[in-house]
């Protein structure tokens, strides 16, 4: 196809594929552990790091990386220590992180045009430097999950059992939150801070409806992520729409269609049984 002869398109596709790998793997943990809210919190504190990056004149993605990792560890410790009010505290960190970003940006000299691309994503203008960063973070994520696959699965499934079996569940939960932070950095370029949570959850949630094995859930989620990013990219190019939002809308539509299809499929055998019974 003609559009793939452009270099920026090839970069965009590559960025989409890289985003799909980490969001398929880590998104599966987010969905099965039901930690969407804390993940949203980590994602939004990234804006503080981006603002800091502008303020200091360094790559905003590096600032965001530092901020998300620290806030992931902070939120992990908070939710571990004070189970009752942890959601409130996470909400506070979520908002404070964003506010900090806004203050940093306002203090920064010069005009910050591409700030919007961090909020809403613009996969068409991902710098080559950031693609390398995404690749490196993906490697860390994949290697860590391969190394700790059984331990993370056990802790996610039944934390109390994991503790009685001698696993350091506190540390494993922190490792997972840091991996979520890294995944968010990978995803920011593709869909932006505001929409990160959608790409983190929709492919994994759709995959979860199609299989009852964590391993296959991750693989299907990666494939779906690749379809959503490349399909969304193509649609945004053809209809001249914002890329991040188009990717998310495509993902959302597929999720709804799969859910409707499966609920019809589940109902039908039950209705047939009823007919036989009467």
């Amino acid at each position: 196809m003609e559009i793939f002869t452009y270099e920026f398109m090839r970069h965009a596709l590559l960025a989409g594929f890289l985003a799909s790998i980490s969001c398929g793997i880590i998104g599966s943990y987010v969905v099965i552990k039901r930690i969407v809210f804390i993940s949203g919190g980590i994602a939004h504190t990234a804006y503080g790091g981006i603002g800091l990056g502008y303020f200091l004149g360094i790559n905003p993605m590096l600032g965001a990386l530092g901020f998300t990792v620290l806030s992931a560890i902070g939120m992990g410790i908070v939710s571990d220590r004070s189970a009752q009010r942890s959601d409130t505290i996470i909400g506070v960190m979520w908002a404070a992180g964003m506010a900090l970003g806004i203050v940093f940006v306002s203090l920064s000299p010069g005009y910050t045009t591409d700030l919007m691309s961090y909020l809403f994503g613009n996969i068409l203008v991902v710098p080559v430097m950031d693609i390398w960063l995404m690749l490196a973070l993906n490697l860390i994520i994949v290697i860590t999950v391969i190394a700790l696959y059984e331990e993370l699965k056990t802790t996610s499934f039944d934390e109390e059992f994991a503790r009685t079996a001698g696993l350091n569940t506190r540390l494993l939960n922190l490792v997972l939150l840091v991996l979520i932070a890294l995944t968010i950095i990978v995803l920011i370029r593709a869909v932006g801070i505001i929409l990160v949570i959608a790409l983190l959850t929709i492919p994994a949630a759709t995959a979860g409806r199609l299989t009852s094995s964590l391993k296959y859930m991750m693989i299907i989620a990666i494939i779906l992520g690749m379809l959503f990013t490349s399909g969304g990219l193509l649609l945004s190019y053809v209809f001249d729409l914002p890329s991040g939002a188009t990717i998310i809308l495509l993902a959302g539509i597929v999720f709804v269609l799969v859910s409707i299809f499966l609920s019809i499929k589940e109902k039908r055998p039950a209705m047939m049984e009823k007919d036989i019974g009467s």
Binding site: A147, E150, F161, T164, S212, S213
Partner: protein, 262 residues
């Protein structure tokens, strides 16, 4: 430490002395002493809130006691806890979790796993555990698609896969259909051939037919390494006379089935 393979019924497998636990100033366990011998099958009964689950959690190291000590197979609790397995009262996991029966049972080996993946020996032990609870036929089933009784047997298999010396069960039949309760206890009786079992329940009649000895727990523990409950033990534990247990071994009282006669 006694040799694990040649244990006899005079070998102590666990010793608890002077164990006290309190939560926010409320005393839950008060100076518990308990000696458990190899192949014991102890039923610990007592009212709800009497500290039964707390005792199990202390043995597992999930809570830190205020005072007292627990030794397992002659070692301090921390070094001995891998020889204790636990079957919780209610499965605390998410029914929708994408995981099969087989994966759950294999999880029992996580504490002993070396390297990244489970070894063929781990898999062999997990399979044996599944066979012992007669659940090997449902290996590939997703965990949420089991009945309460089947799920409980899988939890027992997961506990067995760790090759424990001592098996702790907390109200094991709370979520089991009463028709399958007897079958469940038969499996436990079979396991008791080589594993020490401590079972906690508030239902005296349910456990008394299967356990070897009974203890009463209500903050304090009353135990004489015997099956007979003295009236004194019951009264201490429940703080009221219990008339139902008149002859030492209680019977299950069934309502007459009027409608079925004829």
């Amino acid at each position: 430490m006694p040799n694990v393979d040649a244990l006899t019924e005079t070998d102590k497998v666990m010793e608890i002395s002077g164990l006290s636990v309190s939560f926010n100033g409320t005393q839950v366990l008060d100076k518990i002493d308990l000696t458990v011998y190899h192949r014991d099958f102890i039923g610990i009964i007592g009212p709800n809130g009497g500290g039964k689950s707390t005792l199990l959690r202390a043995i597992l190291g999930l809570i830190t006691p205020d005072r007292g000590s627990i030794s397992i197979m002659g070692r301090p609790q921390k070094q001995g806890r891998h020889m204790v397995s636990y079957v919780p009262q209610y499965a605390s996991f998410d029914r929708d979790f994408p995981i099969s029966v087989w994966e759950v049972v294999l999880m029992g080996r996580i504490g002993q796993k070396k390297g990244l993946r489970f070894s063929p020996q781990d898999k062999e032990l997990a399979l044996q555990a599944l066979e012992r609870v007669e659940m090997d036929g449902l290996k590939e089933r997703q965990i949420g698609r089991l009945s309460g009784g089947e799920r409980q047997r899988v939890m027992v298999a997961r506990a067995l896969a760790a090759k424990p010396q001592i098996l702790l069960l907390d109200e094991p039949t709370a979520s089991v259909d009463s028709r399958f309760e007897a079958g469940f206890y038969d499996i436990l009786k079979e396991l008791n051939q080589d594993i020490t079992i401590i079972l906690v329940s508030h239902d005296i009649s349910a456990v008394s037919a299967y356990v070897k000895t009974i203890a009463c727990l209500n903050q304090q523990l009353y135990y004489q390494h015997a099956k007979e409950l003295t009236e004194e033990m019951i009264e201490h534990a429940y703080h009221c006379p219990v008339h139902l247990i008149a002859h030492g071994i209680p019977h299950r009282v069934l309502e007459p089935h009027d409608g079925v006669v004829g």
